[in-house]
């Protein structure tokens, strides 16, 4: 009797162990990027991974895959400040933080806070502002941790449907939350949001989940159904097909942005708020497309 029970226990354990074997493996993100600067600088990599005033990074550390996008606020151009410098330096700094392991996977806000702090430690007096969105995959726990400040953001698509998305943070129309370094004296005038006011979220992911991280140049020009249509074409998980899909999404968004008759999500939102406009929104577009796959060395 007892031997039957113990034998049954061993068998059950073996079967269940076999079923849940995939849970023991680490996950990882296979990511491709594509983008276009507003001034027809088609995908020219200025300092690497910069598209116009947008910037992005993809980095790994021992236990995590990290992505980030930042949208430099163009209004600084009127004051003689290059808006791309802030976003590019912020993303370079966050990338370095990740590569050196100075972060906790479960706290992407920490990456943003440390990155912003490091910008202030630079001898060069940086000026400017940008939004930021950081996505971290914890390989072992299969959880995604995100942090979003401003109107960039991410989508998580599973089985052809959007299961998670980020919320836009805006002070008022076309003025997102932003990290900034202002010239002395202008601190009261210039919007400067602290990394603490960013939106954080965490959720589990499964193999095959698609994560699309992008700046508002994409989301303001392409509604969800169009993005999902493009993503359906993604058949396998190798880097080249992801790169191709990312490129096609970015290109389509870029075309729609300059279509004067198209009712873009941006135009729709403006109409809802009483502004009678039509057409796309010319803007820098940055797209990071990732698939959750098994970790291979």
């Amino acid at each position: 009797m007892l031997s039957v029970l113990s034998y049954g226990r061993i068998v059950a354990r073996a079967v269940l162990g076999g079923l849940s074997q995939t849970d023991g493996r680490d996950y990882s993100l296979i990511t491709a990027s594509c983008g276009f600067g507003k001034d027809f600088r088609k995908g020219i990599l200025k300092k690497g991974m910069c598209y116009g005033d947008d910037a992005c990074f993809i980095a790994q550390h021992k236990s995590a895959d990290v992505l980030g996008v930042a949208d430099g606020v163009g209004g600084w151009r009127d004051y003689g400040v290059d808006p791309s410098q802030f976003s590019a330096t912020l993303m370079r700094t966050c990338e370095r933080l990740v590569k050196e392991g100075r972060f906790t996977p479960s706290s992407p806000v920490g990456i943003l806070t440390s990155g912003y702090y490091e910008l202030l430690q630079n001898k060069v007096p940086l000026l400017g502002s940008s939004t930021a969105c950081i996505v971290v995959l914890d390989r072992r726990s299969h959880r995604i941790h995100t942090c979003n400040l401003g109107d960039s953001g991410f989508l998580v698509v599973r089985g052809g449907e959007v299961v998670h998305r980020s919320d836009e943070q805006q002070h008022y129309f076309n003025t997102p939350f932003q990290l900034s370094i202002a010239p002395p004296g202008a601190e009261g005038v210039v919007l400067s949001d602290s990394p603490e006011v960013s939106d954080s979220s965490s959720f589990d992911v499964q193999l095959g989940d698609i994560i699309l991280t992008a700046t508002d140049g994409l989301f303001d020009n392409m509604p969800d159904y169009m993005i999902l249509q493009e993503l359906k074409k993604l058949k396998n998980t190798n880097y080249d097909s992801i790169q191709q899909t990312a490129r096609s999404i970015a290109e389509q968004a870029h075309e729609l942005a300059y279509d004067p008759n198209y009712m873009s999500p941006f135009a729709q939102f403006a109409c809802d708020n009483g502004l009678n406009v039509r057409g796309g929104k010319p803007d820098d577009i940055t797209v990071l497309l990732s698939i959750v796959a098994e970790y291979t060395d």
Binding site: R96, Q121, K123, V124, P125, P184
Partner: protein, 616 residues
């Protein structure tokens, strides 16, 4: 004809052979590695391993913030981030000082007598690698103003091993003189190193940047070595050196010493030759020029010299810093009997990795600390709270105390400094001193003239500290508040109203000071004796601040206004005209000051060293 031809050809052939042989000999040093590799290839092949640094374990100072990765020493580990580019980048390792500017300040320590001329290290760092190898080459990637590295040492201890050996040896792989490269451009520095007979994964670099124009920056260090001991290595017999201090007892040689010839008159002496004719003070004077290890060796030679060399008058100033690699508890106990009149002691950098224990240090202090006036203990990681307690008890006359970079000392240890009421100079750079401790110290040490609280991250409110300084320490001449987080204009105003004698004020990277509050102008008006003012990376410094400095501080010698966008050429000219003593002006990253302007001003004011750093 033919015999002459054959003679000539023979002669020519011999000359050719000789020339080729001497050629290889002169190249031998440079191609020693190639030769060895060639020789090694004849034997079982040894693979050369190339490693980048794994972790920076210890260092004496750095430019960056304690929890940052910009300009901090930890950037030296890993692969290079900047090389082969040149410039002033955040991803490099930078020391706190450069040139001789800080030595010119009154806040620096006076030089110790008897420092051997071969010791000129100002800063050091210790870098651990993954795998112990027998080093064949060390390459230092310097990306800005190279030329500071003057010594490379290797340690026999593996810092990652679980059971470290008792005997820790440091061997000098290479030593050189401080120099500067011709341009500030990046270079790969790879001096030819000595072969050693132990595998090492811990290197120490010592630097001296006194000849450099600006901060030197290091990007990475590459260690090349082999895993197996090279068979043809020359084993260097360890030279009998300071170890004599520890293992020799007092050897009184009965049979006489150096000179046995009797002078004639004094036959009842042991006969020290002409030395018997010299007065005691003269021999003392002669012997006072010997460095400490020679002094100890001379003491063993004969009774007369033993008497002279063990005379406590020879040990009024004692600098053990050059001998940090070999100083142990035993050395200290051996010196104990001679150091009873000790007034100035430099034990900076000594005793790490167990060489000196807190107990050994305490017993030395108890025996020798009574007359101590100056105590330099920078980077002494063996110090504990008990040591500071003993110092406080046994050294009531202490006027100078340097605990820079003693970052392993617990915060409560600093409370004991309160008892040293005669303190004139206190250095607590990069320590964990807390607000309550420093406030107590300032309350009870009103004689303070020089105070260094740079990078003291545990002090929460610098305004309160400034207020206390203003109330208690009216003799303050120099104050270093480098990277103090939250000094505001109120604290600064109180400070300058109470400490009227301030000559040196270091407020670099104090980002909470806003020029729009008028605090810098108030400072300039309140401190007419100001000689050094560092407002590094305070982005608010503007023209009116410089004009006030020009109007009030004619004694100004060093000024740093790095990184402000608000200073124009007109106010710079005014400053340079009105401050004739100005020697150092750092206008790096000031956006209105371009290199053309710097050139022009350097031409007009040739006595001023105008610094403009660059990133590209």
């Amino acid at each position: 004809m033919f015999p002459m031809l054959t003679l000539l050809s023979m002669f020519y052939y011999i000359c050719l052979r000789r020339r080729s042989r001497s050629g290889t000999r002169s190249e031998a040093l440079g191609s020693r590695r190639a030769v060895e590799l060639g020789q090694r290839s004849a034997l079982p092949v040894t693979v050369e391993v190339e490693q980048y640094g794994k972790e920076v374990l210890d260092f004496s100072s750095h430019y960056g913030s304690e929890n940052s990765m910009s300009y901090t020493m930890w950037n030296l580990a890993g692969v290079p981030n900047v090389y082969p580019s040149s410039g002033d980048f955040t991803q490099t390792a930078v020391f706190r000082t450069y040139g001789s500017w800080w030595e010119q300040c009154t806040s620096s320590a006076q030089r110790f007598r008897r420092t051997p001329p071969s010791f000129h290290s100002q800063d050091y760092l210790e870098l651990a690698f993954e795998e112990p190898v027998y080093p064949t080459a060390v390459e230092v990637l310097e990306t800005y103003h190279p030329g500071a590295v003057i010594k490379i040492l290797a340690c026999s201890l593996n810092p990652f091993s679980q059971n470290p050996p008792v005997d820790v040896r440091w061997e000098v792989l290479w030593a050189g003189k401080p120099n500067k490269a011709l341009t500030p451009q990046a270079r790969q520095f790879s001096p030819s190193i000595k072969q050693i007979n132990f595998a090492t994964n811990l290197l120490r670099l010592e630097v001296n940047s006194s000849l450099l124009e600006y901060y030197t920056e290091l990007d990475a260090v590459i260690l090349r070595g082999v895993r197996e001991r090279p068979i043809l290595a020359l084993y260097k017999i360890p030279v009998i050196d300071i170890n004599d201090l520890s293992d020799s007892e007092e050897e009184i040689s009965e049979a006489g010493g150096l000179c046995c010839r009797s002078g004639g008159e004094n036959r009842h002496n042991l006969g020290n030759g002409y030395f018997d004719r010299l007065p005691y003070e003269l021999i003392q004077l002669i012997v006072s020029h010997l460095p400490v290890p020679d002094l100890c060796r001379l003491a063993q030679s004969c009774k007369l010299f033993h008497k002279h060399c063990c005379d406590p008058l020879q040990y009024i100033q004692l600098s053990l810093q050059p001998y940090w690699a070999r100083l142990t508890d035993a050395s200290l106990s051996h010196l104990l009997s001679r150091c009873t009149l000790l007034q100035r002691l430099n034990m900076s950098w000594t005793g790490n990795r167990g060489a000196v224990t807190a107990a050994g240090f305490c017993s030395f202090m108890k025996a020798c600390g009574v007359s101590l006036v100056c105590l330099e203990l920078s980077c002494c990681h063996f110090l504990t709270e008990a040591c500071l307690e003993v110092i406080a008890q046994t050294c009531p006359c202490l006027q100078e105390l340097n605990l820079a970079s003693c970052d392993r000392l617990q915060p409560q240890a600093f409370n004991h400094i309160v008892k040293l009421t005669n303190l004139r100079r206190l250095v607590l750079y990069r320590t964990k001193v807390e607000q309550s401790a420093i406030l107590s110290i300032l309350t009870f040490c009103p004689e303070l003239k020089h105070l260094n609280l740079g990078s003291c991250v545990m002090i929460e409110d610098y305004d309160v500290v400034a207020s206390m300084l203003s109330a208690r320490c009216h003799s303050l001449r120099s104050l270093d508040l480098w990277r103090c987080r939250n000094l505001s204009e109120h604290g600064l105003a109180e400070l300058v109203s109470g400490c009227r004698l301030l000559e040196e004020l270091e407020l670099g990277w104090c980002s909470t000071l806003q020029s729009s509050s008028g605090c810098f102008q108030h400072l300039a008006r309140s401190l007419p004796r100001l000689r050094k003012l560092f407002l590094t990376a305070n982005r608010t410094v503007c023209d009116s601040d410089l004009e006030e400095l020009a109007a009030n501080c004619s004694a100004l010698e060093h000024l740093d206004i790095l990184g402000t966008r608000m200073v124009s050429s007109a106010s710079l000219r005014k400053l340079l005209q009105c401050c004739p003593q100005l020697k150092l002006l750092d206008v790096s990253f000031c956006s209105q000051v371009d290199s053309r302007l710097v050139q022009e001003l350097s031409g007009l004011f040739p006595n001023v060293s105008i610094k403009k750093s660059f990133t590209q």
